[in-house]
Symmetry: C2
Subunit: 129 residues, 2 copies
DNA sequence: CCCGTACATAGATATCTGTCAAATTAGAAA
DNA sequence: TTTCTAATTTGACAGATATCTATGTACGGG
């Protein structure tokens, strides 16, 4: 948050006085906000993890055991376990062991926050549409 | 789309007849859908590119010249150019050269599609909330 | 035409990431 | 306890990625 409050608006003005760009409209993401949010998107920026998330979310009851997830891919159990760990460490899912099996479920609030951030009403990404 | 229509629901049933999971609720992402969508999220899964997108989107008039973007970072112009290329190849932004400067703008439809996919009303990620 | 500025490309390199095989932990059942 | 199954951890390795320097291209002004 140190060099981020520099007047970005003043940039792009050459000596002739002709600005190359219009000023800002909404408030852009700060460096620290971006650093905080990027890992969330990185967690779902993989086809396997996207499908894992989808499979977990679509399960009636809201939770899925790892055995079902592993069965849906050509990948080895360690690889699935790795991807689940990435999703969990990002805060997108949570898990609990019950007996032999481990169950995973999604945390919808986090997904909703990410969705809102890139959605049409976002205060940091409000499009021109 | 080959092995994806396998009965995932049947997995997780052990010999004792006790299922470890409930069946599916909504329709999960297919392998090809995930392969198509993941690169979109990968494009914004970087703090620099997230801020670039935000800076571009927040610019009044809907477009920004590269000089402004480069000025907002500690990175070299080639690095910014690289990230803009990644965003453009993913289809999130577009650009045009006008005289000396090159202008970038976002494509809100694509962002909106991504937002809807992970949002609360998603048919492939409908949460338990 | 030549020069300077804005931006992109090419090449090099250090780091990160996805995957697997092998070993490990946790629980259930005999 | 011993054994079997479910899931995770570890270690290794190939491939991707973010960044830089150096070079190239496009445009405008003398």
């Amino acid at each position: 948050m140190s060099k981020q409050e520099l007047p970005i608006i003043d940039a792009g003005v050459d000596v002739s006085g002709a600005a190359c760009c219009a000023p800002l409209a909404c408030e852009p993401l700060s460096e620290s906000e971006a650093a905080e949010l990027a890992p969330l998107f990185k967690a779902i920026a993989d086809p396997v993890r996207l499908r894992l998330l989808s499979l977990i979310a679509c399960h009636k009851g809201g939770e899925t055991c790892v055995c079902d997830l592993t069965a849906a891919f050509d990948l080895t159990p360690p690889t699935i376990s790795h991807h689940l760990k990435v999703l969990k460490q990002a805060g997108l899912i949570d898990s609990e062991r019950r007996g032999t099996w481990v169950y995973y479920w999604i945390k919808p609030e986090v997904l909703a926050r990410m969705s809102a951030l890139i959605g049409p009403a976002s205060p940091v990404l409000a499009g021109t549409a």
